[in-house]
Amino acid sequence: MSTTTTRDLASPAPAKATSAKPRRGLRGNRTFNFWLFIGPFLLGLMIFVYVPIGWSIYLSFFEARFTVTPSKFVGFDNYTYMLTNPDFVGSLGTFTVFAAFIVPTTWALSLGLALLVNRLRFMRAFFRSVFFLPTACSYVAAALIWKMSIFSGVRFGLMNTIIGWFGVDNIAWLSNPSPPWYWFVIVTARLWLQSGFYMILFLAALQNIPGELYEAAAIDGAKPGWQTFRYITLPQLRATSTAVILLLLIAAYQAFDEFFNLLSKTTWGRPPLVELYYTALGENQDYGAGSAGAVILTLLIIIVTLFQGKLMGFGRSEEAK
């Protein structure tokens, strides 16, 4: 059961500084070693992350239809177009609401799971793996399972079978947007896919809370259960919670796969990225407007993240310990 020991992510064992032996040649050379280890990653980062980002910003100022090497400079036209495009602005609005809902829900569910698993006396590794496994599942595969077997509209779909036992008629979960059952499908898929991963983060943090705190609290008369949770566990998880909420927020705005696969050919429930996909890569192939939208979305994520960090004290995590 070596897997049960979890290392503190926030403060790993300090790396032993190599003793500065006066040695000739490249092997002992720190600068060389620095580039040796950083170089490949830096190179990958440059080619696959920074260059595309830069290119995208460049494209957003040009009329780039059917090409990624445009020549016609249009200034902020693409930005005006995207910001006055009701579909794109609408999707930003929808997904702000979506984020406001999915972030706390996923946070609460993964924290709940972590608390439950942490309490287990036996089979802890088993349950931890069971809840973590969905993280390894591809979003596309999950979307297909959700669409074809669980939320299929026919009478033998899993959910329709279950509600059939209670005498409820079949529901067209995805085709029919009123009532908007598709949100239920998407939220369940997303929770299933994501909770496990954040559960692991919480579990690691829970195991790092010193037992003495609970003992001291017990001596001072704190009742186990809610009181201990509210005044010891939750404050101790502050750093992890902040990080989890941050990641969840970014993930909510970057939602793509399950929406694209579950809601093809709709005009509703389109996240910003799906909207941008249709703008930039659909029949219009408008890379300029698409890039402008991507930049707007990035700025929005940055602003929300900074605001949230300010609110919850990201970067001040050490104090919470």
Binding site: L43, G153, A172, L174, S175, K265, L281, E283
Partner: protein, 421 residues
């Protein structure tokens, strides 16, 4: 002293940084030139792109035809994703674009120079082709694609179920809605027209006495009849008698074959599978009249072969298309009748296609001739999407049809202006 050691350090580090950057630059250059280009060869290698046909044996057939060709190696890309057109459009912009591909005639591909003029290979046999198919591929007297198959689309129904429910074959949209209600039982839904209903958009418009575009390439779908049709479709959609979220789409015969519905919108291609599963208990009828003054309609869809005009092997690709889709009549007949049923666009092949001469297939051919509407080359993907949005907003969502048609008008007019000025 500290200053001295500092400058010493920085001189070295500058050198190293420079060397590092030079190395990075070299590698980056390698990354940029990642072997996509190598298509400038002898023209002996060709690629062709097909959407995945649902019938067993189709992929093998296409590869078998290609293998028999001696003048070039023809590789086949068989695209299984549901949005073949986006995949095709995206690929055509890259250097990985196929030399030949199948698609429907759409004028923006001609205007942007993506498809090659095939008049010289078609002209000698032009008289043999269905004139409507020639017309739908012609722009300014030049023919841009070779029709491989014509696929009429209509409703398939099970006469036994209609008889049991006391329903006659519907001739108007109102009758269809009523039939769907009567045919719906605990386990079987009355009607299936696909999960997104998009397959019946054009038939609904034609059956309302309207059209997508008129002869002058102006909007012709925005009529009171179409608005009435959209309202009726909304009524049908919300009735609870429509099969929705089925595991397979309208083009797959499973919904009717597995007893999920009593009537299904599908196409000629699936006829052999229907007959195999249901025997004689299968009949067909065209899309009913949307309004009383309208006329029943059938969408004569189908697939055509195009040559990528921007590819490196235009001539070799044209030669292959001529060899297979003009000269090899045996293969053309095999393709049209051995897997799914399709109507051969060439009179000489249709005349010999005995499988289509009697019974249900013959009825399908009759509907094709009597009620059929062919593709309009001026009706492009962006316009198709615009009307799909109308159906999404006003049939599946309860939006006002007039407002969503106005929105579509804006999109279609922008596209028309780009294409025709």
């Amino acid at each position: 002293m500290s200053a001295m050691s500092n400058s010493n350090w920085s001189r070295r580090s500058i050198f190293r940084a420079a060397a590092g950057m030079a190395a990075a630059g070299t590698l980056a250059a390698c990354g940029g030139n990642n072997g996509r280009g190598g298509s400038g060869g002898s023209g002996k290698n060709l690629t062709q792109m097909f959407h995945a046909y649902g019938e067993a044996g189709t992929e093998q057939a296409i590869k078998r035809y290609a293998k028999a060709y001696s003048k070039a190696n023809v590789a086949t890309q068989w695209i299984t994703s549901s949005d073949y057109e986006s995949k095709l459009f995206a690929t055509l912009l890259t250097k990985n674009a196929p030399d030949m591909f199948e698609f429907h005639p759409q004028i923006q591909m001609v205007k942007s120079g993506q498809v090659a003029d095939l008049s010289d290979i078609i002209d000698p046999v032009k008289a043999d082709f269905n004139p409507a198919d020639i017309a739908s591929h012609t722009v300014d007297g030049k023919i841009y694609g070779v029709r491989m198959i014509d696929d009429p689309q209509f409703f398939f129904y099970r006469p036994s179920l209609l008889e049991k429910a006391g329903v006659k074959v519907p001739e108007t949209l109102d009758e269809l809605i009523e039939a769907a209600a009567k045919l719906t039982t605990g386990k079987v839904k009355g009607l299936y027209i696909g999960n997104d209903l998009h397959a019946v958009i054009n038939p609904m418009i034609w059956s309302a006495g309207a059209d997508t575009l008129n002869a002058q390439n102006q909007i012709a779908y925005h009529t009171p009849g179409v608005i009435e049709g959209i309202k009726k479709m909304r009524k049908l959609f919300t009735s609870g008698h429509l099969l929705l979220d089925a595991p397979t789409d309208y083009w797959d015969p499973s919904a009717l074959n597995q007893g999920l519905c009593a009537i299904q919108f599908c196409g000629m291609w699936a006829m052999p599978q229907f007959q195999k599963a249901l025997g004689d208990d299968i009949g067909i009828f065209p899309f009913p009249k949307t309004i009383d003054s309208g006329k029943q309609s059938v969408y004569n869809g189908g697939w055509s072969m195009f040559v990528n005009a921007k590819g490196a092997n235009v001539d070799a690709a044209k030669e292959y298309v001529k060899w297979l889709w003009i000269d090899q009549k045996k293969d053309q007949e095999d393709w049209a009748t051995s897997y799914g049923f399709h109507i051969p666009p060439r009179a000489s092949i249709a005349a010999g296609a005995t499988k289509l001469k009697s019974g249900l297939p013959a009825e399908g051919v009759k509907l094709f001739n009597e009620f059929g509407h062919f593709d309009n080359i001026g009706w492009t993907q962006a316009m198709i999407t615009a009307l799909e949005d109308v159906f999404a907003n006003s049939v599946r969502k309860g939006g006002d049809p007039e407002a969503s048609l106005d929105k579509a008008d804006t999109a279609v007019n922008r596209e028309l202006k780009k294409l025709f000025g």
